[in-house]
Amino acid sequence: MHLVEEFALHPFTNWTLFGLDISLNKAVIMIWLAAALVFILLFIAGRKAEMVPKGVQNFVEMIIEFIHEGIVEPMIGKKGTPWVPFLTTVFLFVLFMNLLGLVPGMYTATSRLYVTASLAMIIFITVHAAGVKAHGVSYIKNFVPGGVPAFLAPVLFVIEMIGALAKPFSLAVRLCANMFAGHLVLGAFIGLALLFKSLVIAPLPLMGAVVITGLEIFISGLQAYVFTMLSAMYISDAINSHH
């Protein structure tokens, strides 16, 4: 009960715009901070681009190469190169939001469903816009698998539509629940240490908390990677025709 309440946001202001709640809270500030960090990192890297990279530029080029050769090439293929900047930005933004939550006193913006749902909506709209751009009106044929009998086509079309709507849902819930569950486990370990009120037993759960923190750093990177990879997969499904 207490643990879940730790995630509650207490808005600093009480603003509304056209009936929508736009008050400032910790999660919003974390999103701005993550966006600013991505901007600063990429700005410093690109300010004085050199032929032989060193320092920050070298590091950023390593990330971009990882996105290009590790995600885009195997998923989308040669046609995917224009998608590298978009996917790099998504990867860095999600990664920074995940990692900021591990700094004491900060907040994990990605542990709120509306943050991840907004990200998933951006991916959803981008994917289908790219599909329409690549195929025009005949993009709708992508929703019917090739070679099915005519009487089955409408049924399969409805099923594929539900599948298409489930994709952003699963993207959002996966990221959000992973981050939320990780911090809940961390909180449970620290709560366990406080619960016993004994200096003999307390080090054991605290050691567990240290291990879980290490795991959380790994999970932050892995979830950002999975999010980017699945986005690349959906883009590939939309722009590479199957039939």
Binding site: M1, V4, G70, P74, S170, V173, R174, A177, N178, F180, A181, L222, Y225, V226, M229, L230, M233
Partner: protein, 73 residues
């Protein structure tokens, strides 16, 4: 009673996911040892598969949290 239901449900979801992910990882290790040059492609496929399986446990987790907040107020 609801607490018991939520706990048993979470346990079953974790059990199924553990079996699924261990199968995926085991098969990936098998494939890598049989064909070490395909390690990169196998790893990518394994991570996607594991992420999709893991999502099922996370759906159960979300439903459990919803159930649990309903119980405790």
């Amino acid at each position: 009673m609801e607490t018991l239901g939520a706990s048993i449900g979470m346990g079953l979801a974790a059990l199924g996911t553990a079996l699924g992910i261990s199968y995926v990882a085991g098969k990936a290790a098998e494939g890598t040892s049989r064909q070490p040059e395909a390690a990169g492609a196998i790893r990518t496929t394994m991570i996607i598969g594991a992420a999709l399986i893991e999502a099922i446990a996370l759906y159960a987790f979300v439903i459990n949290i919803l159930l649990w907040t309903k119980i405790t107020g």
